[in-house]
Assembly symmetry: C2
Homo-oligomer: 386 residues x 2
C-alpha cells in the first residue's frame, strides 16, 4: 500500500513545440505535420550522464499526467501507484518522462488542434497515424530533453505496443522495454470491438464528418457507447461479479417480477449505473476523433509481419520484460506469448511473467504486489547495470 | 449433412387469438393483456393420444419459422438442421410446435401491436414481461392445439430459460426439457452487454420514447449497434479468427502503413464488413422495443432464487438434458453447471453434456454431430417411453 509521504506532490504539465513548419514531422504515410506541440510531465531528476531516463507510454485514453497531482492530492495521475519515490518506477533514482500521444486530445497536437492551413480544427483531415509515428515524436521529445538513450521504456496496452515498435526500430537505443498486457497483432474479436466503437461514433447524427468542434453538440452518444463497450472488455467477468454481482441500484426494488413503468429500461442493476457513469464521465476528457485514430492505429499494428523486422531484431540489445494478467481477455496471455516467442526467436533477452489477478486488462493500472515487484526488479537490474 | 429430400418442404405460419377481452392474459406483474395473438408453426402429425408434441422455444431474436421454407427452398427456418424427417427432432415421429414469443415482433402480440385502448401501438406502454409470462402463453397455445402435456420442451439460450421456468412451475406437465446453452441467472458481464444495447437504442435521437412506429425514422442506429455488439458475444474469439482473421476487405489495401483518407475509418477488415451487415440486416426483421423487453426479461431471470422453487422442484418428474458448448462465452459452461447442480440437488434426473465446438454461443444453431446426437438420443428415449 502507498504510505503517506511516499507519493509525488504537486506536478505540472509542460508543453514543447517539437516540430515546426521549418522542421516538420515526417509521418510514415509520407505526409508532413507541423506544428506539433507535445504535452508531457517529468518526475525525478536526470542524472549527470543522462542515463536514468524511464519513458512511459500511455494507453488508448490516458494522458501525460501519470503521477503526482495538479493541486488536489486526492486526484492523482493514472499510474501514481507505480511511479514515485521508492515505487517500482523509483523517482529517487530515475528521471521519468510521460508525454500525451501524438493524435491525442490532452495537450498534444491531434484532430482537435487547429490546422494552420485552414485556421480550423483538423477533424478527419488530420493525417492517419501509425504506432511508428508516435515513436518518432517520443524520440524527438527525448532529444529536446537532452537524452540520447532511455534506460527503459514502459507501457501498458497501447503503451506496450509503442515500446515494442521503438525497440524493434531502434534496437541499440533502448536499454529495457517493459511491455505490459500489450499485443503485437489484434485478433478479429479485438478489431470487432473497435469497429462497433467506430460505428457508434461515426453514425452519431452529431458527428458531422468529424467537424463537430465548437458546435452545440458533438457525437457524445456515440463516444459514450464506445467507452461503455470498451469498458466491459477492460474488466474480467470475475471482476464484474465481485464489484457488482447482480446487485440492484435500488436495493428495495422488487426481487424478480418487474414493475411496469417507462423507466423499467432505465438503470436497474448497479453494473448499469457504473457503465453509464463511465460513458458519461469520459465525454469530459476525450475527443471522438482521437478515439477513431487510435483505435484504427491499434487494429493495423502488426510489426512482426514486416519483412525487415526479423533482420533488425538480430541487432536487439534491448532487454525485454513481457507481462500479462491471467484474467485479461482484452489482450490475453496469448498476445504476450506471441511477442515473447517472436523476440526470443530473434535472440533477444526476454523475461515473461503471467501475473495472477482477477481484474482483467485493467490490472495494469492496479497495485498488484507480484506485478509491481516484477517491474521493480526489471528496472532495478537496469539501474544497477548503468 | 442434410441429404436432399430429407428436409421439410413448404410450411405456413399460423395465427391464433389465444387471449381475448373476455379471457385476458394475466401477467405475473398483475397486469392484464388482451387481445393476444400468437404466430406459430407446426411440423409433423400429432398422434392419437396426443403424446408426441415437442415444443420449441426460440431465443432472443428468432421467430416461429424454425424449419421448412415459405416458398424459397434456399431460405429455411433457423433450426432447419435440427428439425425434420429423421433429424434429431424427428417430424416423422413428433408433432413440433414453435411459436413466436409474447412481446415479439414476428406475428405475436408485442410492443409494435395496436393497443385497443388507444388505437396506437403500445410502444413502452406494453406491460413488462417475465419468462413466466412467456410460459403462460405457451401453455395456452398447447391447450388451443388440444395438447395437455408436451413430450418435450427444447430451447437454446433464452429458449432454454423458458423450458427451465416451465419445468419448475409445472413439474408434472413436461416429459423432458432440453436446455441448450441456457442460463438460470445472468452475470454482471451479461447484464453489462445488455445495458450497452439498451443505451444504444434508448439514446438514439429517433427512439422518441418508444413511439417511433409509422415515423420516417426509428432507432435504427441504436438497434444496429445493439446487434453488432451482441453478435461479437455470440461468436467465440476462435470462430472469428477462423472466419475472418485479419483479412482485409480490400485485399490490395496497403499492408501496414495506412493511407490517408476520410474513409480510413470506414470498413477495412472483413470482420468489420460482416458486423455492419449483421447490424443492418437485423433492422429489417426486428423491433427495437422488443429488444428492450426481452433483454430486460433475461437480466431479471433468476428462478432458483425464488423461495418456493426448491419446494416445487421436489415434485419434478421432468427429465432434463443440459447442454453447453466449450467455446461459448455468452453463457459459458458455468451457467449450465449451475442449472445442472440446482436440478440435481432437488433430485431431478439431469444429463449434462459439454460439447466441443469452436463456434461459441451460436453453436446451438449449427449442425454439430455430437450435439445433434445428444438431442436425438434424449428425444428418442422419451419417445420410446411413451
Amino acid at each position: 500500500m502507498i504510505e503517506p509521504g511516499e507519493a509525488i506532490g504537486l506536478v505540472e504539465t509542460q508543453r514543447a513545440e517539437l516540430f515546426t513548419a521549418e522542421r516538420p514531422l515526417l509521418l510514415g504515410s509520407g505526409r508532413q505535420l507541423a506544428p506539433v506541440e507535445v504535452a508531457f510531465e517529468t518526475y525525478g531528476e536526470l542524472n549527470e550522464d543522462r542515463s536514468n531516463a524511464v519513458f512511459i507510454c500511455h494507453a488508448l485514453t490516458a494522458d501525460a499526467h501519470a503521477a503526482g497531482h495538479h493541486g488536489d492530492p486526492e486526484r492523482r495521475g493514472w499510474w501514481d501507484n507505480l511511479i514515485g519515490p521508492g515505487r517500482p518506477v523509483d523517482t529517487d533514482r530515475c528521471f521519468v518522462v510521460v508525454p500525451n500521444l501524438l493524435g491525442g486530445c490532452q495537450g498534444t497536437t491531434g484532430p482537435s488542434s487547429i490546422d494552420p492551413a485552414t485556421g480550423q480544427p483538423y477533424g478527419l483531415r488530420f493525417p492517419a497515424l501509425s504506432v511508428r509515428d508516435l515513436v518518432t515524436v517520443h524520440r524527438r521529445l527525448l532529444e529536446h530533453l537532452g537524452i540520447e538513450r532511455p534506460m527503459a521504456v514502459v507501457g501498458g496496452s497501447l503503451g506496450g505496443m509503442q515500446a515494442l515498435q521503438w525497440a524493434l526500430d531502434y534496437p541499440e537505443e533502448i536499454g529495457g522495454a517493459a511491455l505490459i498486457c500489450a499485443s503485437s497483432r489484434l485478433t478479429a474479436q479485438n478489431i470487432a470491438f473497435s469497429a462497433v466503437a467506430r460505428e457508434a461514433i461515426m453514425r452519431d447524427p452529431d458527428f458531422n464528418g468529424g467537424d463537430f468542434y465548437g458546435r452545440e453538440r458533438g457525437p457524445e452518444l456515440g463516444l459514450a457507447l464506445a467507452r461503455m463497450t470498451a469498458h466491459i472488455t477492460y474488466l474480467s467477468e470475475e471482476a464484474m461479479r465481485q464489484k457488482f454481482g447482480r446487485r440492484r441500484q435500488d436495493p428495495d426494488a422488487p426481487p424478480v417480477e418487474p414493475g411496469v413503468a417507462e423507466s423499467d429500461f432505465d438503470v436497474d442493476f448497479q453494473v448499469e449505473s457504473y457503465l453509464r457513469h463511465q460513458g458519461l464521465s469520459f465525454l469530459d476528457r476525450f475527443d471522438a476523433n482521437t478515439y477513431l485514430y487510435f483505435s484504427r492505429m491499434m487494429d493495423r499494428f502488426d510489426p512482426f509481419s514486416e519483412p525487415e523486422a526479423f533482420q533488425r531484431m538480430k541487432q536487439l540489445v534491448t532487454r525485454f520484460l513481457v507481462v500479462s494478467f491471467d484474467s485479461d481477455w482484452r489482450f490475453d496471455t496469448g498476445h504476450s506469448r506471441v511477442i515473447q516467442r517472436a523476440l526470443a526467436r530473434a535472440g533477444a533477452q526476454v523475461s515473461f511473467r503471467e501475473i495472477e489477478s482477477p481484474w482483467g486488462h485493467d490490472s495494469f493500472l492496479l497495485e498488484i504486489p507480484e506485478y509491481h515487484r516484477t517491474v521493480q526488479t526489471f528496472l532495478n537490474r537496469l539501474l544497477e547495470e548503468q
